[in-house]
Amino acid sequence: MRRQYSSPVTRMVLTRIALGIGMLLLLSLIVFTATHALPGDIARTMLGQTATDEQVSALRSQLGLDRPLIVQYVDWLGGLFVGNFGTSLASGTPVSQLLAVLLGNTATLVLIAGAITIPLGILLGTVAARRPGSAWDVAISGTMQTILALPEFVVGILLVTVFAGKFLRLVPPTSPLDPRMSAIEQPALLILPVATMVLIAVPHLAESVKTLVRDQFAMGYTLTARLAGISEPRILSRYALPNTTGPVAQVVAITINYLLGGAVAVETVFSFPGIGSELVAAVSGRDFTVVQVITMGIATVMFVVFTLADILGILANPKLRNRI
């Protein structure tokens, strides 16, 4: 009998990658079809109202848009596999070059927002879970529920009105980052976008963590530990929290992906040059290659984040870990 060298974790990761690639392929087809189904096309958008049919067809042919859709799709997909993201139809610059600075800006925004959101959300959720119905629980849950009900752009505009309005000019109201510098070198312009992202993401995370921790507190082992006279903080740190690691990792993954999604709205509200605002502009201008690369990029990041969360969940769970 042949000995099996690959561990179940490796197998899981490989399965996951295979499945992920399949999913991304399917997604690429959906994105490609959806963008091409939009009314209007880039040639007319670029030429504006003083476009003659002759000029439009000349530009379409120059951009390769007169080729059959399937040829365009295969051509683009083939490029992706060799790391060629194509050329922005509108600007004629390679998409990788066009997105380089924007990607850095969005990454900075999401990472800083994540670094604040994740510990804060877990902390608030845990505090609220400890004594259901306590003043802390009511205060935290009430606030979270209120913010959850507000759309991202409303939160953003409220923050601008309060902290960058006519009376209280504490921070810049818009964030037109200078592309000649990195985002981190322009910290004042990051304050409101980061604050908005944190405000919209923390409630989701805190509410989920609260439910998970509260479930642990309702378990028999917690009662046993309490009866054995073990202190509450110790029960929390030693038993309840470690038991929630797997599910919390999942929730954190969802939060990171939620932040990525929130970036689209937040960047637009603050005129923040990033991947999200670029996606909005590219859809608006029918710059298909840019739309496709950004959506595929976001999908890939989401996939990686979920996979990492699953691996962490398995490693953190002795039952699963030991069977592996």
Binding site: M12, T15, L19, M23, L26, L27, I30, A34, L38, P39, G40, D41, I42, R44, T45, M46, L47, G48, Q49, T50, A51, T52, Q55, S88, A90, S91, L98, V101, K166, R169, P172, P173, T174, P176, L177, D178, P179, R180, N257, G261, V264, A265, T268, V269, F270, S271, P273, L279, V280, A281, A282, V283, S284, G285, V290, V291, T295, I298, A299, F306
Partner: protein
């Protein structure tokens, strides 16, 4: 080990994986949908300056990936901004709205037929230090036609084979037919002169600035061309910064993130004037958001219905409410800044009762339904369309207004809408007609055609005598006023938000954009 049945746990794992995949798909679909939604909500004087220092920061709504470095292909705000900073046109509309030579020192007709024109050039240099020559002008014109670039569509009277360099500084155009308005045709930034062998990727121009950095859709930075033939620009550097909408640009202005808000929504003026250190600079222009009535679609194919709709527009209310007073009344004909403008026609008043009576007399049962399509081509577009729906309802019209995003608006359906709102103006009367309604014009989205109008146009365009020509134009505009396809309700002011540290302002009533995008005139202290 292939063929081994899945253990219960691995099948559970598979299910989870599938669920996960579905969740990611849904999330990405959600983001794309959000982007789509946001999209839906979500568009000189010859005075020479001594040259100044500092960086002038101009906010624009908005730059785009489609902003062309090739001036001939410019069709976006950013494209026009680039063209005006890097290049020169042979002529320009000056601060009083009349044309004057720019890169040219003179543009003169050789005889009384306006068929042969001689252009003398100023002593200008390209940013690589070489001189601007007559050969460059010839090259530029031939390039428009050989590469089928947009100016070739608007310069139907130019024969590219009959454009010759007489000497280093003299170009002679022998036109296909006499055209009195030849000099005005070279005011558009798309007709900027480029050097022989022009490479758009490395745009060498003769203009007041050179391009320093270009981050498409985000920011453009320029450096002063201190050797500019009309004098160095007022600031040593110029940054043009993109904003997603008018309100963020105003916020940025009053928070000292920019010095000039070049894309003001006139209803936001109070936010600027209410902040100390900031003010509004405005002037009347020939630019307009005009309703185009399609003469091939019911019911606007009937001149009576068109007349009735013209009477159903409360122009003063539009000026007051939609434009916050920053507009002047229009009279369904173009360009009050053209010396040929027919100002003797009575101002059309809002007369809903008269409109109703006209429709009923023509046998229509009220209300008459008209489909209106619009986009946000200007900050005031949506509000102007919504106002029409209400105003025309009083006059027996049922206007069904549909908003579409810009790319859809200018897509394949453009030219088929029964009624739509278009952004026009900043063109002389002849150019406006040549673009839209005269002699099977290339951009005739109204499909309006009138033989008598064409005859008058063809006679006027070759009539050198100003008095005679003015009489002919008066008749042309009379026809448009009575049976035309364009409702020109008003002319919008240029409304610009300024920091008090900016000086050197001037009006450019016949040019699109803040100061006609002539940012060289501004200094910053």
């Amino acid at each position: 080990m292939s063929g081994k049945p899945l253990s219960p746990r691995s099948s559970r794992l598979q299910r989870t994986l599938r669920r996960r995949a579905g969740r990611t798909l849904a999330a990405v679909a959600g983001i794309t949908a959000a982007a789509l939604l946001l999209t839906g909500c979500a568009t000189g004087s010859s005075s020479s300056t001594s040259g100044g220092g500092g960086t002038l920061r101009v906010g624009i709504v908005s730059l785009s990936d489609a902003d062309a470095l090739d001036p001939a292909s410019a069709s976006t705000t950013g494209g026009y901004v680039i063209a005006r900073q890097l290049f020169d046109t042979l002529s320009e509309y000056g601060t009083d709205g009349s044309w004057q030579p720019q890169l040219a020192s003179s543009i003169t007709a050789d005889d009384s037929t306006a068929k042969v024109w001689t252009v003398e050039l100023n002593d200008a240099t390209w940013s690589d230090g070489t001189a601007v020559t007559a050969d460059d002008v010839v090259y530029t014109v031939k390039r428009w036609f050989s590469e089928k670039l947009p100016p070739s569509g608007s310069l139907a009277f130019v024969d590219p084979d009959q454009v010759v360099a007489k000497d280093d500084k003299t170009v002679q155009f022998t036109l296909k037919y006499g055209t009195v308005t030849f000099p005005e045709a070279f005011t558009s930034p798309t007709t900027s002169i480029v050097p022989t062998g022009f490479d758009p990727a490395n745009p060498i121009g003769s203009g007041p600035y050179t391009l320093k950095t270009n981050d498409p859709g985000v920011q453009l930075t320029f450096e002063a061309n201190t050797d500019y033939f009309r004098g160095a620009p007022g600031s040593s550097e110029l940054d043009v910064i993109s904003f997603a909408d008018s309100s963020s640009a105003v916020s940025a202005l009053t928070a000292n993130q920019i010095d000039v808000d070049a894309s003001m929504d006139p209803t936001l003026v109070d936010l600027v004037t209410g902040t100390s250190g900031y003010s509004i600079y405005n002037y009347h222009t020939s630019g307009t958001l005009t309703w185009v009535m399609n003469t091939q679609q019911k019911p606007l194919d009937d001149p009576v219905v068109r007349q009735a709709l013209m009477l159903s527009v409360d122009r003063q209310a539009l000026v007051d409410q939609v434009y916050n007073g920053y507009a002047t009344l229009g009279n369904d004909i173009f360009n009050p800044f053209d010396p040929m403008y027919n100002s003797s026609l009575p101002q059309r008043e809002y007369s809903p009762a008269a409109a109703k009576a006209m429709l009923e007399a023509a046998g229509y049962s009220l209300p008459v339904t008209v489909e209106l399509t619009g986009t946000d081509n200007q900050p005031t577009s949506v509000k102007q369309n919504e106002a029409l729906v209400k105003q025309a309802a009083e006059a027996g019209f049922n206007i069904e207004y549909t908003y579409v995003d810009s790319a859809t608006f200018y897509g394949d359906a453009y030219g088929t809408y029964p009624l739509s709102l278009s952004y026009w103006g900043y063109l002389g009367i002849f150019d406006q007609a040549a673009f839209t309604i005269a002699n099977n014009a290339p951009y005739n989205s109204s499909h309006w055609q009138n033989d008598q109008y064409d005859e008058l146009y063809n006679e006027a365009i070759t009539t050198v005598d100003d008095t005679k020509r003015k009489a002919l134009v008066a008749q042309m505009q009379q026809i448009e006023y009575q049976t035309g396809a364009y409702i020109v309700p008003l002319f919008a002011d240029a409304v610009i938000g300024l920091s008090d540290s900016v000086t050197g302002t001037a009006s450019y009533p016949n040019s699109d954009g803040a100061f006609g995008y002539n940012f060289r005139i501004l200094s910053i202290s």
